[in-house]
């Protein structure tokens, strides 16, 4: 199961976490959504993103 969790903050920023998608594919899961937003604040891939098969990946925007 693919699961995307977005936390919204009062200053307008968003934090996006993707679970159940391996490696770089997690970026693709949210890339189209990001294009609908304003300027990207930040993206911080964690070490989990590089664990191709074992763990879900997580991004912060």
């Amino acid at each position: 199961m693919e699961r995307i969790t977005i936390d919204f903050f009062p200053n307008g920023t968003q934090q996006i976490a993707v679970d159940g998608v391996k490696g770089e594919a997690c970026k693709q899961a949210t890339a189209a959504y990001e294009t609908t937003l304003g300027a990207k604040i930040s993206e911080v891939p964690t070490s989990e993103m590089y664990e191709q098969q074992e763990n879900p990946a997580r991004l912060q925007h």
Partner: protein, 147 residues
Amino acid sequence: MSHISQFEFQCSDLDALEKAAEACGCELVRGQKKYKWFGRFVGDSPMPKGLTEADLGKCDHAIRVKGASSQTYEVGVCKTEDGKFALRYDFWSGGYGLVDKVGKDGKKLELNYNVHHAKNFFEQQGYYTNIQTNQETGNPQLVAEKF
């Protein structure tokens, strides 16, 4: 006095904006071509970038406070050259109740817009979505799942 502020968040999803307005105790009136403000620019605050005095008070849609008095100002939803929308309002005296609803610089409206825009987007991509409250932060959280 007249002080026009232009929200800085990008808005491209009118359906999400409509739901965000409702969440703030307001309503989006589609096709309303004028928004309520002081009516005359007196030059005591900066003109928002890219605007002239002739642009003020004109809009493509408007957001008004539900049950507001006749004095309460409105938000103008104005189409921009890139096809998105800029949101403008007269913030003098809090817009006579408007700012209490949409937040300073429209931040309450922006927060709710972001939530509903994301919900709409991921539902269109085939996800099941649920809006909830993050128990740690108290802020809204969207969970989108695809099986």
